[in-house]
Symmetry: C2
Subunit: 558 residues, 2 copies
């Protein structure tokens, strides 16, 4: 079996041997106790699950079909091995982790195949369609919307088509700031290949360390610096997508009015229109200056108002992020005592200053704002932003916490697994809405989560930050957690569903950047209207009449 393609733990986020620990964060245990009633000093961590105890459904792939695939990719690049099938069964949502640890695998891919190039992908696709098999394209496996899970009642053979060997930066057009990159390249790998030549995409989603370019496109992803570099929908200019009998080729274009955008039909399609093999993306010279500064606001309203005014101003920061008071409390609790924002608040100077301004320390909101570009440009953006922050009663506390934020930004999923090991279910829901409704959406999500916790009968936690700003609105990102009682998934669903429902009830979308999958699909009609679902459904049905491409994702009826 190929060992070129590295996978995450079969039972959790990230690489084997890496995890969250809180020994150097003395405020963390008291925070968790207060937030969800979990005592980390007495909680017994679950033991690592034993793969041998897992019941993996038998593969439906015949020896003849596996042989057919092996003739395409080589015998060492096709497998019915149970471990590999399990690794390719789910993404990494809370639901996924609970199911995989709980021996709840109703259906797994029957065979996993690792093509070397687009030509092999084409032959696999054609063989699969000829055999009426199902193809689920697989990137890094970091999805948390259920986009990867096989339909439990699927009777046909399911192929997990792992793009992991298509991981090369093929070409950089330095004149145009465009790079041709294979879809299976993971974040760190492709950024390293680009950095060697002095370039960056500037796309850093939370999943960056384990997600792929193809996955970003398939789910319409955003990254932490998207305020500057754009969402993946802005970044991805050209594409190659293998479809039955041929490759859909979209040449890289800065803009075009050649009918409804086929590029935008592929973006967010989650594998339903074919297999993305290559994307031509915008790349940028690594900027002279890249700073992330921390600020505090007296309260959430002030923070949001400042972000809104920044978005309307002439300033163009690369990151606009503000946490609400709950998330600010969390950030302080997860900082090491000696560093980061904790350092600022553990002394007496800053709290005294805040109190002297009449701030309630329970209401304060931590914000990170990034500046990139030439030194003079970054300096000027900061000057413009600083004035707006000040106008809204906020204060800057320098770049120290920003450096730490930068180092820690990809660590949150490990914390989620740490809590799950100790009986607490946590996950995220994110959305976007116009500025005028943002506070309403925020408050409604809180109310929905708290009502759900009351229904379950638990003390639950919810926190939020604004993560991306646009002219007309912003993305709100919620994280929630509670100690589950009897049925983690059923209870998780109560909370998650309540939050999702609150989004669509208040003018917000079902997802700003995680995609639809099966988890958000129940609200699609409320988001884009019944006619919107019909139009999208027509696109899928007409272009995949046999439902061979990741069926029942995005639209679950077929």
């Amino acid at each position: 079996m190929t060992d070129v393609v590295k996978h995450m733990k079969w039972w959790g986020w990230g690489r084997e041997g890496v995890g969250f620990h809180h020994e150097d964060k003395p405020k963390f245990a008291p925070f968790v106790l207060n937030a969800v009633g979990l005592d980390l000093h007495t909680a017994t961590p679950a033991v690592e699950p034993n793969f041998d105890e897992l019941k993996v459904p038998r593969s439906k792939a015949t020896a003849a079909f596996v042989k057919e695939l092996a003739a395409i990719v080589g015998a060492e690049h096709v497998t019915k091995d149970d471990m590999m099938r399990v690794v390719h069964t789910y993404g990494k949502s809370l639901r996924d982790l609970v199911r995989i640890r709980g021996n709840m695998i109703l259906r797994a891919p029957d065979v996993v195949v690792y093509p070397a190039d687009e030509a092999e992908v084409q032959r696999i696709v054609d063989a699969a369609v000829a055999a009426d098999a199902v193809i689920i394209p697989f990137g890094g496996g970091s999805n948390i919307a259920g986009s990867l899970e096989p339909y439990p009642k699927e009777k046909r053979v399911i192929i997990s088509l792992d793009l992991g060997r298509l991981n090369q930066v093929l070409d950089v057009d330095a004149d145009s700031g465009l790079a041709r990159i294979q879809a299976g390249a993971q974040g760190p790998d492709l950024e390293a290949q680009l950095a060697e030549r002095g370039w960056t995409i500037g796309h850093f989603p939370d999943s960056f360390t384990h997600s792929t370019l193809g996955g970003w496109v398939a789910t319409r992803s955003s990254g932490m610096q998207s305020d500057k570099y754009g969402d993946i929908a802005d970044i991805a200019r050209g594409m190659r997508v293998v479809r039955p009998g041929g490759v859909l080729v979209l040449r890289p274009l800065p803009s075009t009015s050649s009918g409804p955008s086929v590029r935008e039909m592929i973006l967010g399609s989650e594998g339903r229109l074919g297999v993305i093999t290559e994307v031509t993306v915008q790349v940028h010279r690594i900027p002279e200056k890249r700073d992330v500064f921390a600020y505090f606001f007296p309260n959430w309203n002030a923070g949001i108002a400042a972000m809104q005014e920044i978005s309307e101003s002439d300033a163009r920061p690369s990151i606009t992020r503000v946490s609400d008071s709950n998330e600010t409390g969390f950030s302080l609790a997860t900082s090491k005592e000696s560093t980061g924002v904790s350092k600022f608040l553990s002394g007496t100077v800053l709290p005294t200053l805040m109190k002297s301004k009449g701030w309630n320390l329970d209401d304060i909101c931590l914000s990170f704002i990034g500046y990139e570009g030439g030194t003079a440009h970054a300096k000027r953006q900061k000057k413009l932003v600083d004035a707006i922050v000040k106008k809204h009663g906020g204060m800057g506390v320098g770049s120290g916490p920003g450096v730490l934020y930068d180092q820690k930004k990809f660590d949150t999923p490990y914390l989620r697994d740490f809590l799950l090991d100790r009986g607490a279910a946590g996950d995220v829901s994110e959305t976007a809405a116009p500025w005028s409704r943002l506070n309403e959406v925020h408050d409604a999500a809180y109310a929905a989560a708290n009502a759900a916790y009351a229904e379950i009968g638990v003390k639950g936690w919810i926190m939020s930050h604004l993560s991306h700003s646009y002219h007309s609105g912003a993305c709100l990102y919620f994280t929630f957690a509670f100690v589950f009682q009897d049925d983690p998934i059923a209870e998780y669903n109560v909370v998650k569903n309540a939050i999702q429902q609150s989004f669509v009830d208040h003018g917000a979308t079902i997802s700003h950047h995680h995609g639809v999958g099966v988890e958000h699909a129940p609200w699609l009609e409320q988001d884009i209207s019944a006619e919107g679902v019909k139009v999208m459904s027509g696109l899928f049905a007409a272009n995949d009449p046999g439902s061979n491409f990741n069926p029942r994702t995005v639209i679950t009826s077929s």
Copy 2:
């Protein structure tokens, strides 16, 4: 008949009584003589065509069907009047004007209907689909890609659905910078309604004075200040689209990953997915400062290189435009002697300065660059741009010509009609390509046009400007003209087709912002690949199984 909806001349661009004249532009006649061999002193202008001589195909709409429509919109808002049917037959391309003046109307809409609101649109759509009639939505009628023309062999009743009465700004969400506007509102009307409240969309296509918001969305339009405000695809956040049996409602969202973007399926769909009745657009406070400055570059390569460097820099101008030497010559020839760029070059100071720098006056390229925002911001942008212009050997000549450019920017179509009256066919082709291929595309279009002129046996003219800049490329806009010999449309096709072919042969798209219609449709497959056409075709077929919505536009096979 309603007189609320004003139409352009049935035989040409713009309002009755408005036209191009050159009495105050002494350089114009010599320029035209040199460019295309047409002597304006001896040319006899065609007399205004006589409507009574026009053969208009009989309406296929039965009295009963007209009565059914009248029951929906009122008898005064539905008509089989020949003049109204002719007004709604074509757009305003050169092909359209030649055909309408040449009594070449193979097929006209059978009935024109002016609904008052979305509810009436819904009833018309439902009645039309029930009767298996064809619906062609009509905005301002400024289209130049053939998107409005009825299929000559269409046997069913064709309804031109004129949105002209849906012309109101319904609501401004000041907190979000979003305005709900009816799709039939024309540029000047909606900007006036917004200006009353202190807002602007910032969308100013060449057709602005006679095009509508719905038309901009349906063709994926761009405007002169799109570098700052975005193309209409960026501006249009929410939509309402009437489809058989129901309204597709897309709520305004700053961004979303709710599957493939249905918003982007409507954008550029040219009426094939339904009738756009309302769009929620981004609006901006009218900026404190808005300046357009003129610059000269020693040659085209220097101009393009400067635009590219600006797009990569930290500067964010609102307009980046540079004309090649041919178009610069044209601009100088169409300026009044006493004003504009002519004034600068008619003296001796500037030419002497240019010559002293070693410039060849035949190679110089005129550029306009716009700055908008706060005064300090605009000033800083200009400073950044000025340095880049200087680096590439260019020089600024102040804001005087820019003011004139601003005043004259919507006048070009009148000049096209003036030339047509005198036997010269002129029109435009525009495209977009990556920076690395821009000069190649430019030169290839010139070579293609010149080969076409040789084939026809005429002295022809072509000129170009870069009109929009993006990170990875730019839009090139070509204008061509020649004195036609025997068959204006056949000869026009030779030139136009050669230019379009050169675009796709050199990595450029078939249209950056005019849309596809029937005129650009033959190159769609070469632009987005056979599989791309299949995917788009599937979208249309699945969502309009009876081909009732503007069939054979964008994809002409059905």
